[in-house]
Symmetry: C2
Subunit: 303 residues, 2 copies
């Protein structure tokens, strides 16, 4: 069974949406990613938490058999994020960010992780993403995420990272910003020329577009009656995608497409509840059933 | 061959986008609709133009064998719309609207049109939409469009129209507004309860969702490198959709889905050039080829 290494944040989130409110609940990119990926593959996490991170908070990692040898407990408080969503649920309004122990995070890859075949670099400083890659032996597939903050502030380091990754997973605004091009298709070509053979563009409630060598794949997001909390949707998508990719062992177009659908399925379960609750209560049966519904959502026949 | 009756506007548009500018070119909902639908079915148009509407301006109708017996030439000037798009091309900024002869438009359905089996009520005053329906014998399928202006100002008349239509084609913001509900899936249920068995929600560059009795269908918009002018995309979509539907003679889910893809294909050709130029130069071969590309865009296989 292939293993996936993920490096990113483990956070305590306080989130308010029109449908409820939670305080200091488990969150962070590495958390959502690894729980989603754990449905398909063995996951190893590298992140940092503070002394306030109790065993109870970390229970979901244990429950999903995620290897936390790389989860460092540092003196200080865990990274905290506080945000709010309006009725359209498309955009988070950040109310407060406390980096705490995450501010001096230097990813140190345990020896037992160094032969990981699949690597996901969560949305962290591109210089740290490079340090991670320098510590890994010979990964088969490297995927990464980034954000406007790094495109704006550390574009040179980011471009070095991009030259070493196979798959980039970002949103449409970030794609346009990175390419400095308004048309998404042209922007995708320009971003792919920076390194990643495969570009996956997330478009929130509208779904995903994947660009690779010779094809474009488009998938809508699964339409849901109950969306309670979009936090972690992108990372759950990436986790489901990488998890299924690692399970399938290949980068064929058909495997990539199916992995994207599994990613979309995981994101859809994630937003149906606050924090990790959507993924936490998920069964393999429900997951497979929604994959089938996804097929029915998008299928049409030629004459 | 089934005939489609369309009632709507024929206009002279002046449009500016980052990629060019045109003045007083052929436009209007009935125009885009009928040219797109003409690739599949016989089309009959009811609209009004002024004395400034030259034979040359009307040439595309003739070229596409569209029946213009219902195109009234009134004393005065043709409806004029002037708009501008920014780089994101998603939203038109209206600079000027001159209703002119369209202001006193009373749709008078020629006898030869009254047995039309398929009817499309373009985005006009819902009271006029009702007058059209009163003049038609026994249509098999009635579809209609509307907009925020009528939802806001004439919701009672609009609800009467909706109770008599089979298919409603509107955008996502209008769906939410009509239902007074932020969640699109819930809003769709509420709008379908107003009458239309089938609701098609247009989401611009993100594609389309269709809601009917027992299924939801989602299709992305065809990703394009060159988008010059989005004017008429929605009406070209509706035309391709209704055209193929009338050609297929049925309302099965599989026919509806395929019709939506043909609608998306027509919209994609329309936005690749100003005014009717995209549809005007289109061949049946190019149309079928893009339908196949659309299949490849959305197809994935289960394990």
């Amino acid at each position: 069974m292939s293993s996936i290494l993920v490096v990113g944040s483990v956070a305590l989130d306080s989130v308010k949406t029109p449908f409820g409110e939670v305080e200091d609940v488990l969150g962070g990119s590495a958390t959502y990613f690894s729980v989603a990926a754990s449905f398909f593959s063995q996951v190893r996490v590298v992140a940092v938490v503070g002394t306030d991170f109790t065993e109870e908070l970390g229970a979901p990692f244990k429950r999903h058999n995620i290897d936390t040898s790389g989860l460092v407990h540092s003196e200080g408080a865990t990274f905290r994020w506080k945000g709010e969503y309006g009725f359209d649920l498309n955009e988070a309004h950040t109310l407060d960010t406390q980096l705490n122990v995450f501010e001096s995070f230097k990813p140190d890859i345990p020896d037992s992780y160094k032969t990981s075949e699949y690597v996901f670099l969560g949305n962290i400083d591109p210089e740290l993403q490079l340090q991670v890659l320098d510590q890994i032996d010979k990964p088969r597939v490297v995927a990464c995420d980034t954000m406007n903050f790094w495109i704006d502030g550390k574009v040179d380091a980011l471009k070095k990272t991009l030259s070493r990754v196979d798959i980039l997973i970002i949103n449409d605004g970030e794609t346009r910003m990175l390419a400095d091009e308004a048309n998404l298709v042209r922007a995708a070509h320009k971003v792919r020329a920076m390194g990643p053979r495969i570009l996956i563009v997330k478009r929130g409630e509208y779904g995903v577009l994947m660009f690779n060598e010779d094809s474009v794949f488009g998938a809508p997001a699964f339409p849901l009656e109950d969306v309670y909390d979009p936090t972690g949707a992108g990372d759950s998508f990436a986790g489901g995608f990488m998890g299924h990719l690692a399970q399938s062992e290949g980068l064929d177009d058909s495997i990539l497409r199916r992995s994207i659908v599994y990613g979309s399925v995981m994101a859809s379960f994630n937003v149906e509840a606050f924090s990790l609750n959507g993924l936490g209560r998920l069964t393999k049966t429900a997951l497979d059933e929604r994959f089938r519904q996804f097929k029915s959502l998008t299928h049409f026949e030629a004459l």
